[in-house]
Symmetry: C2
Subunit: 200 residues, 2 copies
Protein backbone atom coordinates (compact mmCIF):
# COMPACT_ATOMS: atom_id res chain seq x y z
CA UNK A 1 0.00 0.00 0.00
CA UNK A 2 1.40 3.40 -0.90
CA UNK A 3 1.46 6.32 1.52
CA UNK A 4 -1.03 8.21 -0.68
CA UNK A 5 -3.61 5.45 -0.51
CA UNK A 6 -3.02 5.06 3.22
CA UNK A 7 -3.57 8.79 3.73
CA UNK A 8 -6.83 8.65 1.81
CA UNK A 9 -8.02 5.72 3.87
CA UNK A 10 -7.04 7.37 7.12
CA UNK A 11 -8.75 10.62 6.16
CA UNK A 12 -12.02 9.10 7.29
CA UNK A 13 -11.09 9.78 10.90
CA UNK A 14 -10.06 13.11 12.38
CA UNK A 15 -6.43 13.84 13.26
CA UNK A 16 -7.46 14.13 16.94
CA UNK A 17 -9.06 10.71 16.86
CA UNK A 18 -6.04 9.30 15.07
CA UNK A 19 -3.71 10.75 17.74
CA UNK A 20 -5.91 9.26 20.46
CA UNK A 21 -5.72 5.84 18.82
CA UNK A 22 -1.93 5.97 18.52
CA UNK A 23 -1.60 6.97 22.18
CA UNK A 24 -3.74 3.99 23.17
CA UNK A 25 -1.58 1.68 21.05
CA UNK A 26 1.60 3.02 22.69
CA UNK A 27 0.06 2.53 26.15
CA UNK A 28 -0.84 -1.05 25.31
CA UNK A 29 2.66 -1.67 23.96
CA UNK A 30 4.09 -0.49 27.30
CA UNK A 31 1.67 -2.61 29.29
CA UNK A 32 1.71 -5.93 27.44
CA UNK A 33 4.30 -5.69 24.63
CA UNK A 34 3.88 -6.21 20.92
CA UNK A 35 3.06 -9.91 20.81
CA UNK A 36 0.33 -9.75 23.43
CA UNK A 37 -1.17 -6.60 21.91
CA UNK A 38 -4.31 -7.62 20.01
CA UNK A 39 -6.54 -5.67 17.67
CA UNK A 40 -9.37 -6.65 20.04
CA UNK A 41 -7.61 -4.86 22.90
CA UNK A 42 -7.00 -1.77 20.76
CA UNK A 43 -10.65 -1.77 19.69
CA UNK A 44 -11.85 -2.13 23.29
CA UNK A 45 -9.49 0.51 24.67
CA UNK A 46 -10.40 3.05 21.98
CA UNK A 47 -14.09 2.12 21.66
CA UNK A 48 -13.69 1.52 17.96
CA UNK A 49 -14.62 -1.47 15.84
CA UNK A 50 -12.02 -3.95 14.67
CA UNK A 51 -13.39 -3.50 11.15
CA UNK A 52 -12.50 0.20 11.32
CA UNK A 53 -9.00 -0.54 12.58
CA UNK A 54 -8.32 -3.06 9.82
CA UNK A 55 -9.82 -0.76 7.18
CA UNK A 56 -7.70 2.19 8.30
CA UNK A 57 -4.39 0.45 8.97
CA UNK A 58 -4.47 -2.91 7.29
CA UNK A 59 -3.20 -4.79 10.33
CA UNK A 60 -1.40 -4.78 13.65
CA UNK A 61 2.13 -4.40 12.26
CA UNK A 62 1.18 -1.30 10.28
CA UNK A 63 -0.84 0.21 13.13
CA UNK A 64 2.00 -0.24 15.63
CA UNK A 65 4.64 1.17 13.24
CA UNK A 66 2.42 4.25 12.65
CA UNK A 67 1.89 4.67 16.40
CA UNK A 68 5.67 4.56 16.97
CA UNK A 69 6.13 7.13 14.18
CA UNK A 70 3.55 9.27 15.91
CA UNK A 71 5.22 9.00 19.34
CA UNK A 72 6.45 12.32 20.56
CA UNK A 73 10.19 12.63 20.39
CA UNK A 74 11.56 13.77 23.76
CA UNK A 75 11.75 17.52 24.22
CA UNK A 76 14.25 18.95 21.80
CA UNK A 77 15.90 22.31 21.50
CA UNK A 78 19.61 22.66 21.64
CA UNK A 79 21.43 22.07 24.89
CA UNK A 80 24.68 24.05 25.18
CA UNK A 81 25.94 24.65 28.70
CA UNK A 82 29.63 25.00 27.86
CA UNK A 83 30.82 21.70 29.32
CA UNK A 84 30.29 18.05 28.45
CA UNK A 85 29.11 17.27 31.99
CA UNK A 86 26.65 20.17 31.91
CA UNK A 87 25.30 19.11 28.51
CA UNK A 88 24.90 15.41 29.41
CA UNK A 89 23.19 16.31 32.68
CA UNK A 90 20.90 18.78 30.89
CA UNK A 91 19.93 16.16 28.27
CA UNK A 92 19.14 13.70 31.08
CA UNK A 93 17.10 16.22 33.05
CA UNK A 94 14.80 16.92 30.12
CA UNK A 95 12.86 13.71 30.70
CA UNK A 96 11.32 13.33 34.15
CA UNK A 97 11.23 9.96 35.92
CA UNK A 98 7.73 9.22 34.70
CA UNK A 99 8.72 9.82 31.07
CA UNK A 100 11.81 7.65 31.54
CA UNK A 101 9.70 4.81 32.90
CA UNK A 102 7.43 5.13 29.85
CA UNK A 103 10.35 5.05 27.42
CA UNK A 104 11.82 2.09 29.22
CA UNK A 105 8.52 0.19 29.03
CA UNK A 106 8.10 1.03 25.34
CA UNK A 107 11.63 -0.17 24.55
CA UNK A 108 10.90 -3.44 26.36
CA UNK A 109 7.56 -3.84 24.59
CA UNK A 110 9.21 -3.50 21.19
CA UNK A 111 12.57 -5.25 21.77
CA UNK A 112 11.52 -8.65 20.47
CA UNK A 113 9.13 -7.41 17.79
CA UNK A 114 11.58 -5.20 15.91
CA UNK A 115 13.55 -8.32 15.00
CA UNK A 116 11.87 -9.85 12.01
CA UNK A 117 9.67 -6.81 11.35
CA UNK A 118 11.78 -4.45 9.18
CA UNK A 119 9.10 -1.75 8.95
CA UNK A 120 8.72 -1.63 12.73
CA UNK A 121 12.51 -1.65 13.18
CA UNK A 122 12.73 1.33 10.81
CA UNK A 123 10.04 3.24 12.72
CA UNK A 124 11.71 2.38 16.04
CA UNK A 125 15.11 3.54 14.85
CA UNK A 126 13.96 6.67 13.04
CA UNK A 127 11.66 7.91 15.80
CA UNK A 128 13.09 6.63 19.05
CA UNK A 129 16.81 5.91 18.56
CA UNK A 130 18.14 8.30 15.89
CA UNK A 131 16.85 11.60 17.35
CA UNK A 132 18.57 10.78 20.66
CA UNK A 133 21.75 9.74 18.88
CA UNK A 134 21.83 12.98 16.89
CA UNK A 135 21.65 15.04 20.08
CA UNK A 136 24.43 13.10 21.75
CA UNK A 137 26.57 13.45 18.62
CA UNK A 138 26.09 17.26 18.63
CA UNK A 139 26.98 17.53 22.31
CA UNK A 140 30.10 15.40 21.84
CA UNK A 141 31.18 17.26 18.72
CA UNK A 142 31.11 20.49 20.70
CA UNK A 143 33.16 18.85 23.48
CA UNK A 144 35.74 17.82 20.86
CA UNK A 145 35.70 21.32 19.32
CA UNK A 146 36.29 22.86 22.76
CA UNK A 147 39.24 20.52 23.28
CA UNK A 148 37.48 18.86 26.24
CA UNK A 149 37.47 15.42 24.57
CA UNK A 150 40.20 14.18 22.21
CA UNK A 151 38.98 13.68 18.65
CA UNK A 152 40.48 10.16 18.65
CA UNK A 153 38.97 9.04 21.98
CA UNK A 154 37.72 5.50 21.28
CA UNK A 155 34.72 5.98 23.61
CA UNK A 156 33.18 8.36 21.02
CA UNK A 157 31.96 5.32 19.09
CA UNK A 158 30.22 3.89 22.16
CA UNK A 159 28.25 6.79 23.61
CA UNK A 160 24.86 5.28 22.71
CA UNK A 161 25.88 1.83 23.93
CA UNK A 162 26.78 3.43 27.25
CA UNK A 163 23.62 5.52 27.57
CA UNK A 164 20.92 3.30 26.04
CA UNK A 165 22.64 0.28 27.57
CA UNK A 166 22.50 1.61 31.13
CA UNK A 167 18.93 2.70 30.53
CA UNK A 168 17.90 -0.78 29.36
CA UNK A 169 20.02 -2.69 31.89
CA UNK A 170 18.70 -0.77 34.91
CA UNK A 171 15.39 -2.64 35.00
CA UNK A 172 16.99 -5.99 34.32
CA UNK A 173 19.66 -5.68 37.01
CA UNK A 174 17.97 -3.65 39.73
CA UNK A 175 14.29 -4.37 39.11
CA UNK A 176 13.50 -0.70 39.01
CA UNK A 177 13.08 1.72 36.13
CA UNK A 178 15.85 4.16 35.20
CA UNK A 179 15.56 7.53 36.94
CA UNK A 180 17.30 10.89 36.56
CA UNK A 181 19.34 10.24 39.71
CA UNK A 182 20.52 6.89 38.44
CA UNK A 183 21.55 8.26 35.04
CA UNK A 184 23.26 11.35 36.47
CA UNK A 185 25.38 9.14 38.78
CA UNK A 186 26.14 6.80 35.88
CA UNK A 187 27.23 9.72 33.67
CA UNK A 188 29.62 10.94 36.39
CA UNK A 189 30.97 7.48 37.26
CA UNK A 190 31.25 5.94 33.78
CA UNK A 191 30.59 8.19 30.79
CA UNK A 192 32.72 11.21 31.73
CA UNK A 193 35.74 9.13 32.84
CA UNK A 194 35.50 7.16 29.56
CA UNK A 195 35.82 10.49 27.74
CA UNK A 196 38.73 11.52 29.94
CA UNK A 197 36.66 14.24 31.63
CA UNK A 198 36.57 14.52 35.43
CA UNK A 199 33.12 14.64 36.95
CA UNK A 200 33.66 17.40 39.51
CA UNK B 1 2.44 -27.06 43.84
CA UNK B 2 5.38 -28.05 46.01
CA UNK B 3 8.73 -29.04 44.57
CA UNK B 4 8.21 -32.59 45.90
CA UNK B 5 4.97 -33.09 44.02
CA UNK B 6 6.46 -31.49 40.93
CA UNK B 7 9.40 -33.90 41.13
CA UNK B 8 7.04 -36.86 41.32
CA UNK B 9 5.09 -35.64 38.36
CA UNK B 10 8.19 -34.99 36.32
CA UNK B 11 9.67 -38.36 37.17
CA UNK B 12 7.47 -39.89 34.45
CA UNK B 13 9.93 -38.70 31.82
CA UNK B 14 13.64 -39.44 31.72
CA UNK B 15 16.17 -36.74 32.59
CA UNK B 16 17.48 -36.90 28.98
CA UNK B 17 14.03 -36.30 27.60
CA UNK B 18 13.48 -33.49 30.08
CA UNK B 19 16.75 -31.82 29.04
CA UNK B 20 15.74 -32.13 25.39
CA UNK B 21 12.40 -30.45 26.12
CA UNK B 22 14.03 -27.58 27.97
CA UNK B 23 16.49 -27.03 25.12
CA UNK B 24 13.58 -26.86 22.67
CA UNK B 25 11.80 -24.34 24.90
CA UNK B 26 14.93 -22.15 25.08
CA UNK B 27 15.30 -22.34 21.29
CA UNK B 28 11.69 -21.26 20.82
CA UNK B 29 12.17 -18.41 23.30
CA UNK B 30 15.11 -17.16 21.24
CA UNK B 31 13.19 -17.48 17.99
CA UNK B 32 9.80 -16.02 18.87
CA UNK B 33 9.94 -14.72 22.45
CA UNK B 34 7.81 -15.62 25.44
CA UNK B 35 4.45 -14.24 24.35
CA UNK B 36 4.45 -15.92 20.96
CA UNK B 37 5.70 -19.21 22.39
CA UNK B 38 2.75 -21.60 22.53
CA UNK B 39 2.37 -25.01 24.11
CA UNK B 40 1.33 -26.18 20.63
CA UNK B 41 4.72 -25.10 19.26
CA UNK B 42 6.57 -26.83 22.12
CA UNK B 43 4.53 -30.00 21.54
CA UNK B 44 5.21 -29.92 17.79
CA UNK B 45 8.93 -29.18 18.17
CA UNK B 46 9.45 -31.92 20.74
CA UNK B 47 6.98 -34.43 19.29
CA UNK B 48 5.13 -34.65 22.57
CA UNK B 49 1.45 -34.22 23.36
CA UNK B 50 0.12 -31.02 24.89
CA UNK B 51 -1.58 -33.17 27.52
CA UNK B 52 1.83 -34.47 28.61
CA UNK B 53 3.28 -30.97 28.77
CA UNK B 54 0.43 -29.67 30.89
CA UNK B 55 0.52 -32.75 33.13
CA UNK B 56 4.26 -32.43 33.72
CA UNK B 57 4.60 -28.65 34.06
CA UNK B 58 1.16 -27.25 34.73
CA UNK B 59 1.50 -24.50 32.13
CA UNK B 60 3.66 -22.31 29.97
CA UNK B 61 4.91 -20.00 32.73
CA UNK B 62 6.14 -22.92 34.80
CA UNK B 63 7.67 -24.73 31.82
CA UNK B 64 9.58 -21.64 30.69
CA UNK B 65 10.86 -20.86 34.20
CA UNK B 66 12.10 -24.47 34.52
CA UNK B 67 13.78 -24.27 31.12
CA UNK B 68 15.58 -21.07 32.15
CA UNK B 69 16.66 -22.75 35.41
CA UNK B 70 17.97 -25.61 33.31
CA UNK B 71 19.90 -23.35 30.92
CA UNK B 72 23.60 -23.92 31.12
CA UNK B 73 25.43 -21.15 32.89
CA UNK B 74 28.31 -19.92 30.77
CA UNK B 75 31.56 -21.76 31.27
CA UNK B 76 32.81 -21.13 34.76
CA UNK B 77 36.09 -21.73 36.49
CA UNK B 78 38.06 -18.93 37.97
CA UNK B 79 39.73 -16.41 35.74
CA UNK B 80 42.85 -14.81 37.26
CA UNK B 81 45.35 -13.32 34.82
CA UNK B 82 46.89 -10.77 37.18
CA UNK B 83 45.37 -7.65 35.62
CA UNK B 84 41.85 -6.24 35.31
CA UNK B 85 42.18 -5.94 31.55
CA UNK B 86 43.38 -9.52 31.27
CA UNK B 87 40.54 -10.80 33.45
CA UNK B 88 37.78 -8.86 31.64
CA UNK B 89 39.12 -9.98 28.26
CA UNK B 90 39.34 -13.58 29.47
CA UNK B 91 35.73 -13.52 30.76
CA UNK B 92 34.58 -12.14 27.40
CA UNK B 93 36.54 -14.71 25.39
CA UNK B 94 34.87 -17.62 27.20
CA UNK B 95 31.70 -17.25 25.15
CA UNK B 96 32.14 -17.48 21.39
CA UNK B 97 30.14 -15.27 19.01
CA UNK B 98 27.53 -17.95 18.48
CA UNK B 99 26.94 -18.32 22.22
CA UNK B 100 26.74 -14.54 22.58
CA UNK B 101 24.12 -14.34 19.87
CA UNK B 102 22.14 -17.03 21.67
CA UNK B 103 22.32 -15.20 25.01
CA UNK B 104 21.35 -11.97 23.34
CA UNK B 105 18.32 -13.60 21.69
CA UNK B 106 17.27 -15.24 24.97
CA UNK B 107 17.53 -11.94 26.84
CA UNK B 108 15.34 -10.29 24.19
CA UNK B 109 12.84 -13.15 24.28
CA UNK B 110 12.43 -12.80 28.03
CA UNK B 111 12.72 -9.01 28.50
CA UNK B 112 9.01 -8.27 28.42
CA UNK B 113 7.85 -11.48 30.07
CA UNK B 114 9.90 -11.17 33.26
CA UNK B 115 7.89 -8.07 34.14
CA UNK B 116 4.71 -9.24 35.75
CA UNK B 117 5.90 -12.84 36.11
CA UNK B 118 7.80 -12.97 39.43
CA UNK B 119 8.69 -16.67 39.15
CA UNK B 120 10.19 -16.15 35.70
CA UNK B 121 12.01 -13.02 36.87
CA UNK B 122 13.49 -15.02 39.74
CA UNK B 123 14.64 -17.81 37.39
CA UNK B 124 16.07 -15.24 34.96
CA UNK B 125 17.98 -13.43 37.67
CA UNK B 126 19.23 -16.51 39.51
CA UNK B 127 20.36 -18.40 36.44
CA UNK B 128 21.31 -15.80 33.88
CA UNK B 129 22.19 -12.56 35.67
CA UNK B 130 23.55 -13.42 39.14
CA UNK B 131 26.22 -15.94 38.08
CA UNK B 132 27.70 -13.37 35.68
CA UNK B 133 27.53 -10.66 38.32
CA UNK B 134 29.32 -12.84 40.86
CA UNK B 135 32.20 -13.40 38.44
CA UNK B 136 32.57 -9.71 37.67
CA UNK B 137 32.50 -8.92 41.39
CA UNK B 138 35.32 -11.43 42.05
CA UNK B 139 37.46 -10.02 39.25
CA UNK B 140 36.92 -6.44 40.46
CA UNK B 141 37.59 -7.32 44.09
CA UNK B 142 40.94 -8.72 43.06
CA UNK B 143 41.70 -5.54 41.08
CA UNK B 144 40.91 -3.50 44.20
CA UNK B 145 43.04 -5.83 46.36
CA UNK B 146 45.96 -5.43 43.92
CA UNK B 147 45.59 -1.64 44.13
CA UNK B 148 44.73 -1.45 40.43
CA UNK B 149 41.29 0.06 41.11
CA UNK B 150 40.50 2.41 44.01
CA UNK B 151 38.10 0.90 46.55
CA UNK B 152 35.92 4.03 46.36
CA UNK B 153 35.75 4.20 42.54
CA UNK B 154 32.08 4.99 41.82
CA UNK B 155 32.12 2.88 38.65
CA UNK B 156 32.30 -0.26 40.84
CA UNK B 157 28.53 0.01 41.34
CA UNK B 158 27.90 0.11 37.60
CA UNK B 159 29.94 -2.74 36.16
CA UNK B 160 26.90 -4.82 35.21
CA UNK B 161 25.09 -1.82 33.75
CA UNK B 162 28.14 -1.24 31.57
CA UNK B 163 28.55 -4.85 30.48
CA UNK B 164 24.96 -6.12 30.18
CA UNK B 165 23.92 -2.71 28.84
CA UNK B 166 26.41 -2.75 25.96
CA UNK B 167 25.48 -6.35 25.26
CA UNK B 168 21.77 -5.49 25.07
CA UNK B 169 22.19 -2.17 23.27
CA UNK B 170 24.40 -3.59 20.51
CA UNK B 171 21.49 -5.17 18.62
CA UNK B 172 19.23 -2.17 19.11
CA UNK B 173 21.77 0.38 17.92
CA UNK B 174 23.77 -1.47 15.29
CA UNK B 175 21.33 -4.14 14.15
CA UNK B 176 23.89 -6.84 14.76
CA UNK B 177 24.45 -9.17 17.68
CA UNK B 178 27.21 -8.53 20.20
CA UNK B 179 30.50 -10.23 19.33
CA UNK B 180 33.78 -10.81 21.15
CA UNK B 181 35.48 -8.08 19.08
CA UNK B 182 32.78 -5.56 19.90
CA UNK B 183 32.91 -6.30 23.64
CA UNK B 184 36.73 -6.31 23.80
CA UNK B 185 36.85 -2.86 22.14
CA UNK B 186 34.12 -1.62 24.46
CA UNK B 187 36.01 -2.87 27.53
CA UNK B 188 39.14 -1.01 26.41
CA UNK B 189 37.32 2.19 25.40
CA UNK B 190 34.79 2.46 28.23
CA UNK B 191 35.06 0.00 31.10
CA UNK B 192 38.78 0.24 31.87
CA UNK B 193 38.89 4.08 31.65
CA UNK B 194 35.87 4.22 33.99
CA UNK B 195 37.91 2.19 36.48
CA UNK B 196 40.92 4.45 35.98
CA UNK B 197 42.89 1.67 34.27
CA UNK B 198 44.65 2.32 30.96
CA UNK B 199 43.89 -0.14 28.21
CA UNK B 200 47.37 -0.64 26.84
Amino acid sequence: MTEAIAATRRSRITPEREAELYEAVLDLLREVGYDALTMDAVAARTRSSKATLYRQWGGKAELVAKAVRHSKPGRTGDVDTGSLRGDLHALTRRADDCEMEQSSALMRGLAMAVHGNPDLLKAFREHLVEPEMAEFRRVLQRAVDRGEVRADNPALGFVMHMMIGAFAARTMIDEQPPTQDFLLSYIDAVVLPAFGVTAS
